[in-house]
């Protein structure tokens, strides 16, 4: 059984979540290395198409991390992101890939432990629901194997 | 002149009652109720797909009621018919001896059976009344001469309970100017509203027939579900009736209606009353007796 590491894309804002992730690093907090961070000025910059393209490319999950409601450096960016994430969840449900692979979290700049917790949550979720079916199908095609769907994910 | 028109002009306190046509061709209950009501009301209103719920056409049901010896008021809505069909049906109604006509805009499909139907509303009620009066003068809407003009006792509706009341009053006055013989109001629960409405109509020489309604648990449920067309049942009625079973609730509302009728008659607030008691029309004769009519 192939072991697949979850691939999580984190689209995070500079002012809050990126700072928290950075701090987690300085604090030497342990958390899975499955996250690729995309640093944005604000989660308001996240567009529905970025999320869809990331899924199409094979990401197992997308985590959008922004400032807590009311704390957005650009005032409303995180609110717009919340709406877009919810909309994208319905689009992903429509396509059959599942909106549960996408989640928005509010992680303040000083909350490194919360960042770690959320990353862990996402990893656990992917272990439960399995990898992005597109990613799985492509890997199997490349290896020429005929594995049953729902391969195990190793932690 | 129709018997109903005669009654109106004689100054009698008139009584009209509402009776919905059957939702099918089984006229057994309908005719039974016609028999019950015909000797207790000066005329029976036969609505036209009321609340946009399918029923036999008013003109057909009115014709059956007339054959039974009743005096019907045939209704036409603007919702389901364009000007050609309205004119055509009016000529047909007159030829069948149905000269008491109520012209209304019509409830929208929101409350009804067929939400996907196409709304017509080619004319509004005022324009339809004008059209009816022009037919009586011998011409159709295209300016063509008629081979035999009809004659009607024409009526419309008004809603004294509406808020704000001024737009309703303006519309009401337009109907009077167009020339209606009577106006039936939507259900009255608050006599103050009826009195206030009379302020707008004081100068007008028009017969206003006040609507009153016996309701039961079924109507409360419809209202709860947002499906009750017409005037909402007031909060105090809902409170009182919710604590009772259906029979008691109907009896309670019947008592309220008796009170309203007595006050309307003694206060000279209207030229008559229009009674609605859906599914319970058999209670009407007893109620009229209690109210002293």
């Amino acid at each position: 059984m192939p072991e697949m590491e979850p691939k999580i894309i984190a689209m995070v804002c500079t002012y809050c979540t990126y700072t928290a992730a950075d701090m987690a690093g300085s604090m030497r907090l342990q958390y899975p290395a499955n996250v690729r961070i995309v640093k944005l000025p604000c989660t308001g910059k996240v567009d529905t198409i970025h999320i869809l393209k990331a899924m199409q490319a094979g990401a197992d999950a997308i985590l959008v991390g922004g400032c807590e409601v009311g704390d957005c450096h650009f005032l409303e960016g995180n609110l717009r992101a919340r709406e877009r994430v919810e909309h994208a969840q319905t689009l992903l449900d429509e396509t059959g890939i599942g909106g549960e692979r996408l989640e928005m979290y509010y992680i303040g700049a000083s909350d490194a432990p919360l960042w770690v917790r959320r990353v862990n949550e996402m990893v656990e979720r992917i272990k439960k629901i399995g990898p992005n079916p597109l990613r799985l199908a492509r890997i199997q095609r490349k290896k020429g194997q005929t594995e049953a769907p729902g391969a195990q994910i190793s932690g | 002149m129709s018997n109903f028109k005669q009654a109106l002009e004689s100054g009698t306190f008139v009584v009209t009652a509402e009776l919905e046509p059957p939702k099918g061709v089984n006229t057994e209950r309908f005719l039974r109720m016609v028999d019950t009501l015909k000797d207790h009301a000066h005329a029976i209103n036969i609505p036209d797909n009321r609340s946009a719920r399918l029923a036999m056409s008013s003109v057909a049901a009115s014709s059956l009621a007339k054959q039974r010896g009743a005096e019907p008021i045939c209704t036409f809505t603007c919702r389901d018919r364009n000007r050609l069909a309205l004119s055509s049906d009016l000529l047909g109604a007159c030829a069948l001896g149905l000269t008491n006509i109520l012209l209304v805009s019509g409830d929208y499909f929101t409350f009804g059976d067929m939400r996907q139907a196409k709304p017509v509303f080619d004319l509004d009620s005022v324009q339809a009344m004008q059209m009816a009066r022009d037919l009586e003068k011998g011409a159709d809407m295209g300016g063509n001469q008629l081979d035999g003009p009809p004659a009607f006792c024409l009526g419309g509706v008004a809603n004294p309970s509406a808020e704000p009341i001024q737009p309703q009053a303006i519309k009401f006055l337009k109907k009077i100017r167009t020339g209606v013989d009577f106006i039936q109001t939507l259900d009255i629960y608050d006599l103050e509203k009826l009195k206030a409405f009379r302020e707008y109509t004081a100068q007008e020489n028009i017969k206003i027939i006040a609507g009153v309604r016996i309701v039961g648990k079924h109507e409360l449920e419809l209202q709860e579900a947002g499906k009750l067309a017409g005037v909402p049942i007031p909060r105090n009625w809902v409170q009182e009736m919710s604590a009772l079973d259906d029979e008691q609730a109907v009896a309670w509302s019947k008592q309220q209606v008796v009170g309203l009728i007595k006050a309307i008659k003694s206060g000279g607030l209207a030229a008559g009353i229009h009674l609605t008691a859906d599914g319970r029309e058999d209670l009407i004769p007893g109620l009229l007796k209690e109210a002293g009519l």
Partner: protein, 226 residues
């Protein structure tokens, strides 16, 4: 401006059954403003279709192209070179653009990707309301700028009906009664006499479909060639 709504993905997928090369054509005018069929939405639909097809093991080539407008031939000509490579064109333009596109490429299968809903105003980003039903005989001068044909679901020219409840409409209890609004506007500008006069019936012959309009200065140019 024309408002439209993207059709549900399932409906589009069903209409694409059996085709192997689809070009999604967007429009940069009305449908872009109402977030239904602009360049972004073309990208979103293409990504959704690609994902859904791959999940279903379907092989379909999906192209994306957005032109300024689909109701002007000069922009539709831009597709000339690439349309040949596809067996179906999915247009995200309004019904006008979809038909114009189909006229230009009569040998191609053209499918709608949106439902055109109404002509309306941009109240705010993401929120549009219907304001005009194109009756061809504008009544706005008589009604203080509130359209009786559109805002009143019954299109009453002598309103209100008796279904008004607390100034709200019986059809949509969250919408103010059009004639109550008209009354207020006329009252505020001292023109209630306009509401007291009976408005005659509408002339529906003005809206017999399909309508056609040629500007006076262009009549000779177009009728000479008929």
């Amino acid at each position: 401006m024309i408002i439209a709504q993207r059709k549900p993905l399932q409906e589009i997928q069903q209409s694409l059954e059996g085709y192997s090369k689809a070009l999604i054509v967007g429009c940069g005018t009305c449908v872009a403003v109402c977030l239904a069929g602009g360049e972004k939405e073309v990208g979103i639909l293409a990504a959704q279709l690609a994902i859904a097809n791959e999940l279903a093991g379907k092989n379909m080539e999906i192209g994306e192209y957005t032109i300024e407008r689909q109701c002007d031939r000069e922009f539709l000509d831009e597709l000339r070179g690439m349309a040949g490579a596809y067996d179906v064109l999915v247009s995200l333009a309004c019904g006008v653009g979809i038909q114009f596109l189909a006229d230009q490429y009569p040998d191609k299968v053209v499918l709608p990707g949106v439902d055109t809903t109404f002509i309306g105003a941009n109240e705010e980003a993401g929120y549009w309301t219907e304001r005009c039903r194109m009756c061809g005989q504008c009544y706005l001068g008589l009604t203080g700028g509130v359209c009786p044909v559109t805002i009143c679901p019954k299109g009453l020219l002598n309103g209100p009906c008796s279904g008004t409840r607390d100034g709200m409409c019986e059809v949509d209890p969250e919408k103010r009664c059009a004639w109550t609004q008209i009354y207020e506007r006329l009252d505020a500008t001292g023109r209630l006499d306009l509401m007291r006069d009976t408005t005659p019936p509408r002339d529906y012959s003005l809206t017999t479909t399909p309508a056609r309009q040629i500007h006076k200065a262009y009549k000779r140019r177009y009728t000479a060639n008929e």
